[in-house]
């Protein structure tokens, strides 16, 4: 078993730094690129902890489709000309950042109190013996969660038809 904690910590640091860039950047396109970096880094972490299928879906749907939608909207609305929408050094912004940081501190302390217990129904070895992460996940998705899967597909098509109608109609 390879020790993955150092590469994972490096990815976590990159993701956190890109998220902070996203918070403080004035340019919408910089925000979009940082979000893309965070999503790619998260996909890497998914791969490291063994969720291969979720990592692939993250790459295709999030880093592919949703980011294209965002960048296309930025291009369509020509966001360059709007300029900045906030001041970094305003008291409101500093106060909010400080309280957010304290929230992270308290939450991290709470997380460190948790000690993971090994209830390994699907350990790495069991997963490999059953045919790998994708096969096991697909089996669970189409048997145990079959109705939820169909409901989500209906929700997706309703939302997409609604989005097209909303964008076409003049209000």
């Amino acid at each position: 078993m390879v020790n993955i904690i150092y590469p994972m910590a490096a990815l976590c640091l990159i993701c956190a730094a890109l998220a902070v860039v996203m918070l403080f950047s004035k340019d919408a396109l910089t925000c979009a690129m940082s979000l893309l970096g965070v999503l790619l880094g998260t996909a890497g972490i998914y791969g490291m902890i063994g969720a291969h299928f979720v990592a692939t879906v993250q790459l295709v749907v999030y880093a592919g489709a949703i980011m294209v939608l965002f960048i296309f909207s930025i291009m369509l609305l020509n966001l360059k000309k709007f300029g900045k929408d906030f001041h970094v050094l305003s008291p409101k912004f500093l106060l909010a950042s400080l309280s957010a940081l304290s929230l992270v501190g308290i939450g991290s302390w709470a997380i460190m109190q948790w000690s993971p217990t090994e209830r390994a129904q699907w350990s790495n070895e069991a997963m490999l013996a059953a045919g790998g992460n994708t096969k096991v996940l697909a089996h669970s998705l189409f048997t145990q969660h079959g109705i939820a899967f169909e409901a989500v597909s209906i929700a997706l098509i309703v939302a997409l038809i609604g989005a097209v109608t909303l964008a076409k109609r003049k209000f």
Binding site: A16, Q58, W114, W122
Partner: protein
């Protein structure tokens, strides 16, 4: 001591708080939608990491559903944003206050 089960949880917490701060502070609607995506992504990360730590698969199935709903949410959000831009000539949230009493 920090372990590989704690690390993704702490990152998920950080990403969620940053996304929440973006949603609360920024005025640019498209950045606001990106903040929502960041929060959803943080929740996904937490679910996958817990599913790994507990040796269960249900968390990963949930993440699959959340990603689907996030795609639908961003499509609807961006089409609302296009309409907002058509009506107000700006996507700044300060301009859209017709519902203010």
């Amino acid at each position: 001591m920090i372990s590989e089960a704690h690390l993704p949880q702490i990152l998920a917490l950080f990403l969620f708080v940053v996304g929440m701060t973006i949603v609360l502070l920024r005025r640019n609607t498209i950045v606001l939608l990106m903040g929502i995506e960041l929060m959803l992504n943080a929740a996904n990360l937490s679910l996958v990491a817990f599913s790994r730590a507990n040796g269960q698969l249900d968390g990963q199935v949930m993440v699959f559903f959340v990603i689907t709903i996030a795609a639908a949410e961003s499509a609807v959000g961006l089409s609302i944003l296009v309409n907002l831009y058509r009506n107000f000539g700006s996507i700044n949230t300060d301009r859209a206050k017709s519902l203010q009493g």
